[in-house]
Amino acid sequence: MERNIIQWIIFLMQEYGTYFWKGTLVTLETAILGTLLGLVLGFVIGIVKSTPIAPEDSMVKKIYYKVLKTVCDGFVQVFRGTPMMVQAMIIYYGLKQYGIDISSFNAAILVILLNTGAYMAETVRGGIQSIDNGQFEGGKALGMSHFTIMFSVVLPQAFRNIIPETGNLFITNLKMTSVLNVIGISELYFATKTAANTYYRYFEAFLITGAIYFILCAVFSKLLSILEKKMEGKKDYELATEYIGD
C-alpha cells in the first residue's frame, strides 16, 4: 500500500503515539528537573563567588573561601569548556568502568544540572553585582550579616533579573536533551529514531518530533514571559489613609 506524507505522519502517530508521548515526557522531566536543580547549583556557586573576603576575617575563613572559590571557578570552566555529549559519556559509561553505576536517566539529569549550574553561576553573579552597593551598605548599617542582606535584599532582586536567562537556558536544555540519547535515555529523539527505523520513514518521523519540540519551546517561552510580567509587581500603591494627618 502506498502512503503519502500526510498518511505516513498519521500512521506513525497512531502506531507510535505512546512512544512519542513517553519520549516527550522524559524530555520534559529531564529538562525541568535538570534546569531547576541546576539553578540551585548556579545560585550556590554565584553566591560563593560574590562573597567578599574582608580584611578582618580570620586566616582560616580566608583560606576556606579562597579554596572554595577556586573549586567553583574550575568547575565552571570545565563544564562550559566541554561538550555535553562528552560529559554524558564520561559520567554514564566512563564511571561504570570504575564501578559507579547510575541509571541513564539520573546521569542525564546530572549532566543537565551540572551544565546549567556552570552557566547560571555567571548569570547569578552578574545579577548580584547588578544590585547597587548602597543597598548592601544600607543593610550593613542596620547590623545585618552578609547572608541576611543576600537573602532578604539582594537575591530577590537578582532573581527577577535572571528569569529571562533561566528561561533561555531551559529552552536550550529542552533541545539539548536530544544529544543525551547517546547514553540511552528514551527521550523524544530516541523514541523517534525507533519509530523511524522500523519503516525507514525518517522524514515523517522527525517532522513529527520537530513539531513537538517546536510546540514545547513556544509554550514555555510564552509561560516564561507571563511569569516575567507577574514578577514585575504592581506599578501603583494604596495610600494608607488611616495615617494621613498623623
Partner: protein, 244 residues
C-alpha cells in the same frame, strides 16, 4: 563618659592618606556637625565610625570598649549606631513598611507585630506613615530620605550618623529632611552629621568640626566657631559658604 571616643584614627587607601591622626569624642546628647571641602575625608571618617571602612590605624571606643573583632561583634555594634546615607540606600524590593521592619525583624529578632508597630511609630514621626505600601522607586528624594531616617530610628540607636543627608535632594525637599533631624536633636538624640548646610549646622550642633585634608583643622561650639573662627582655612571656607 564619651559615647564614641576616636583616638589617633588614620585611614589610607593604598598610599593615599585620607585621614591622619584624628582625635575626637562625642558625649551623650551631643550633636556634632562635620563640615569641610570636598575630598577632605568627612565621609571616610563617618564610614570608619560604622566600620564600613576599616581604619588603618588608631582605635575607636564605643561606651568605653574598643569596637571591631569579628563579624558578629561588628554587627552588634552597627545595630546600636545607625547611619543615614546621602543616597538613601533603601531596599528596593521592599515596601516602606518592610524597609522599616527589616532591622527589627532580622537583627533585633523582634516579633512581626512588635516590629510593625515600631515601624509605624517612627514612620509617623517623619510623616511617612501614609506611604507604608509604597516602594522606594515610587517616592521623591525627600520622602526616601525620611523613610531612611525612620528605618535607622527603628533600631533605637544610641548614636545616629548622617552623611550629607540632603545633598542628593532637590532644593525644595531639603527643608523637610532638615526639620526631621532638628526635631531629633531637640529630643536629645546623639548625632554626627556631615553637611554642607551651614545655617543648619550652626542651629543644630553643639559642636562643629571643620575637616581639611584629612585632619580636624578646627572644632568648637557653633556660637564661637561660626562667628570667630581661628584657623585661616576655616575662615576661608566659611566665607565661601556664608556668602553663597
Amino acid at each position: 563618659m564619651a559615647i564614641i571616643h576616636v583616638q589617633h584614627l588614620s585611614k589610607a587607601f593604598g598610599t593615599h592618606e585620607v585621614l591622619r591622626d584624628i582625635d575626637f569624642r562625642i558625649d551623650k546628647g551631643e550633636v556634632v556637625c562635620i563640615i569641610g571641602s570636598s575630598g577632605s575625608g568627612k565621609s571616610t571618617l563617618l564610614r570608619c565610625l560604622n566600620l564600613l571602612e576599616t581604619p588603618t590605624d588608631g582605635i575607636i571606643l564605643f561606651g568605653g570598649g574598643e569596637i571591631g573583632g569579628g563579624e558578629k561583634k561588628i554587627n552588634e555594634y552597627r545595630a546600636k549606631v545607625g547611619m543615614v546615607f546621602q543616597s538613601f540606600n533603601l531596599f528596593n524590593n521592599m515596601t516602606v513598611l518592610e524597609n522599616c521592619m527589616a532591622g527589627s525583624r532580622k537583627v533585633l529578632k523582634k516579633s512581626k507585630e512588635e516590629s510593625k508597630a515600631n515601624a509605624i511609630k517612627y514612620l509617623k514621626k517623619v510623616g511617612m506613615a501614609p506611604y507604608i505600601n509604597a516602594k522606594p522607586a515610587q517616592l521623591s528624594g525627600g520622602q526616601k530620605q525620611r523613610v531612611a531616617i525612620a528605618r535607622a530610628l527603628t533600631m533605637e540607636p544610641e548614636v545616629l550618623l548622617f552623611d550629607e543627608p540632603t545633598s542628593a535632594l532637590d532644593p525644595e525637599m531639603v527643608g523637610e529632611v532638615l526639620n526631621v533631624i532638628k526635631e531629633l536633636a531637640e529630643e536629645g538624640l546623639t548625632m554626627i552629621i556631615v553637611t554642607h548646610e551651614m545655617s543648619f549646622a550652626r542651629d543644630v550642633s553643639t559642636k562643629t568640626i571643620f575637616m581639611d585634608q584629612g585632619v580636624i583643622a578646627e572644632d568648637g561650639a557653633p556660637e564661637k566657631f561660626f562667628v570667630s573662627p581661628k584657623n585661616p582655612r576655616t575662615k576661608e571656607f566659611l566665607s565661601r559658604f556664608m556668602s553663597a
